[in-house]
């Protein structure tokens, strides 16, 4: 089968083999075209992130548990955050409770970096440390961040934190240190090895399944299908930033 050849051509280590076996098995039960599209995502370590992909997230507030903060806990563990919630502590993701002032309807939802297509933080950064990767993930390059905090002034979603204290014992995959600005990375280290962001994984594990992560450019992806079939909201849509994170049920 041509799919099989394709898969073998990209073989790279046990984990990938494992994934591909899984893919091949799944593929046997599906139309071949669907699988091929999926494989096109997979990226060898030496390949750069591609503009053919745009990572996005769809959050269904109806499924999001009121009082559940598993996504926050998972994020803190993955990124080595303290989990403290003082005014100077870093939070990549937070549970936001909102109440409609007209009818009193309440929603609970996770708020994180919205990974805008036109991110204000990237526009305002004097050194170019705030950046958007080709696949739409907005990151801070701590190597050239000078800690001016202008991006925090510019972000409409209050998604960024400043590391106020020296940090030790980081997760080797998530470097972070004093004096730089930081925010949600969609767990880029996990996405690059084709895993889900920690928050999404946690939300799936506890059965809420309120967070859907995937490629917005792929019309076949679950997130694209869901966005196509149901209405969704972009936070501060008036700013025209075309966010990568969308909400349902508000």
């Amino acid at each position: 089968m041509s799919e099989q050849n394709n898969l073998e051509g990209r073989a790279d280590g046990d984990r990938r083999e494992f994934l591909k076996t899984g893919a091949a098995i799944t593929g046997a039960a599906l139309a071949p075209g669907v699988l091929l599209y999926g494989v096109a995502h997979s990226r060898a370590p030496e390949q750069p992130a591609s503009a053919e992909v745009r990572w996005g997230m769809l959050i269904d507030t109806a499924k999001c548990g009121d009082g559940c903060s598993d996504c926050v806990t998972a994020c803190n563990t993955e990124n080595g955050l303290s989990g403290k919630t003082g005014p100077q502590d870093t939070q990549y993701i937070r549970k936001l409770d909102i109440k409609d002032l007209r009818n009193g309807r309440v929603h609970s939802l996770p708020m994180l970096c919205q990974h805008c297509e036109h991110p204000p933080c990237v526009d305002v950064c004097p050194t170019g440390a705030s950046m958007k990767r080709a696949d739409g993930i907005v990151l801070v390059d701590r190597h050239i961040c000078i800690g001016c905090r202008y991006c925090m002034m510019a972000c409409p979603y209050k998604a960024r934190s400043f590391a106020h204290e020296p940090i030790t014992d980081q997760n080797p995959e998530v470097p972070r240190g004093k004096g730089c600005v930081e925010s949600c990375t969609f767990c880029v280290q996990r996405v690059d090895r084709e895993e889900l962001p920690a928050c999404v994984e946690a939300c799936e594990a506890n059965g809420h399944q309120a967070m859907l992560f995937g490629d917005l450019m792929d019309p076949q992806s679950a997130i694209s299908q869901a966005l196509k079939s149901q209405p969704s909201t972009e936070v501060r849509a008036d700013l025209g930033l075309n966010t990568g994170v969308r909400y349902q049920g508000i």
Partner: protein
């Protein structure tokens, strides 16, 4: 007169150069070369001479490729350095002056700020949230395919 002034200036310059040069010679003679612990595995990713001269530019090159473009080859990655060169006593490359990075950098008096942000120790080998093997359905691409097809 002008000639005399010229010679005087030259003499002062040479004298100052001599004064400035003396302490560094003493330092070179008086301080032992750093002793480096041998890294894990058979050989480094490049030969020793290349590593000594060019490790910083390799790291910088790799840093921009990984950070900006998501290229995650492991040959020149800082994480790879740490995995092989973490000291047997401290388990770290930079927590004491005997550890691999600091031994040379302290000797040469070159400050480095890698460790302001990067972990100086390799990831723990125990199956934790970091080293965990991925589930096949954990891949967004696969989840997408499965869900997409089921609709």
């Amino acid at each position: 007169m002008a000639r005399l002034g010229h010679w005087l200036r030259l003499a002062v310059f040479l004298g100052m150069a001599a004064v400035l040069a003396t302490p560094s010679q003493e330092a070179a003679a008086g301080v032992n070369l750093p002793k480096l612990e041998k890294g894990k595995g058979d050989a480094c990713v490049e030969d020793t001479e290349t590593m000594r001269r060019h490790h910083m530019s390799m790291l910088k090159h790799q840093r921009d490729k990984t950070m900006r473009h998501g290229i995650r080859t492991t040959k020149h990655s800082l994480k790879g350095c740490v995995e092989c060169h973490a000291g047997s006593k401290t388990g770290s490359v930079a927590s004491t002056k005997e550890d691999f990075c600091m031994a040379c950098h302290a000797y040469a008096g070159v400050k480095l700020d890698c460790w302001d942000c990067h972990a100086t120790k390799p990831a723990p080998k125990t199956p934790g949230p970091v080293g965990k093997a991925p589930r096949p359905d954990a891949s967004p691409l696969l989840a997408a395919t499965v869900n997409g097809a089921s609709q």
